[in-house]
Subunit: 129 residues, 2 copies
């Protein structure tokens, strides 16, 4: 395969992002208001599908931030803003299951994952409840 | 949601991995031989599907490693070995499209991505050629 890398070609938009560069991508409300940023993704090692985006939210100067596991299905990527859009009310956000860096979400507990998807009103990534 | 985190629960195996922890996962041949490791993943921002695993391969003490974009469909996760399995001949590996940290693969060029999938004999992640 010949690698032709003219500047023109390099500028082409594409939808791929490196796993080590997704951290920090903004998460915004449909009106553009910034809610927080993506701290990391949780990826299913088997299927290769993103299950959750971990939203870092609140806190001050990085202290006391809450980490919210958002089911991927709730996020929409906005190419124009280069940000993820999340349509969520303040109340839904405040009452959402969250964890902190010191107290990790228990990814091995399917019942907690079910509660999470029910909270956000989306079908679980593994198929059905 | 109540967060119950007994050691028993924390030990449960699950198939999720954080995007910032996937780097370094071993890639092995079906006979167990280590080929290299995953340097990073390329993720489709829109669909949330992993498109490629970037295999770091060859080189010596990290110098001169080649980076091979492997279509995700060619990898199988082996739970027992906690590694990805890749069934590939030495020849197919040596002739595979690769790049280096200094000369990035052109992700915006669909024809190069097509050539990549044809090389590995798998259907492209965006559907059909």
């Amino acid at each position: 395969m010949e690698a032709t890398m003219t500047p023109d070609v390099m500028m082409k938009p594409h939808s791929l992002i490196a796993s080590d560069r997704i951290e920090g991508t903004a998460v915004r409300r449909p009106n553009g208001e910034r809610i927080g940023h993506i701290e990391r993704l949780m990826i299913d090692k088997i299927s290769g599908k993103v299950s959750y985006a971990i939203l870092s939210f609140g806190g001050f100067l990085g202290l006391g931030s809450n980490l919210l596991p958002l089911p991927w299905a709730r996020l929409t990527f906005d190419r124009k803003l280069d940000a993820y859009q999340l349509d969520i009310s303040e109340e839904e956000l405040r009452s959402a299951p969250s964890f902190t860096e010191k107290r990790e979400f228990d990814w091995g507990d399917r019942s907690q994952e079910e509660a999470l998807h029910r909270h956000y009103g989306v079908a679980p990534y593994w198929g059905e409840f």
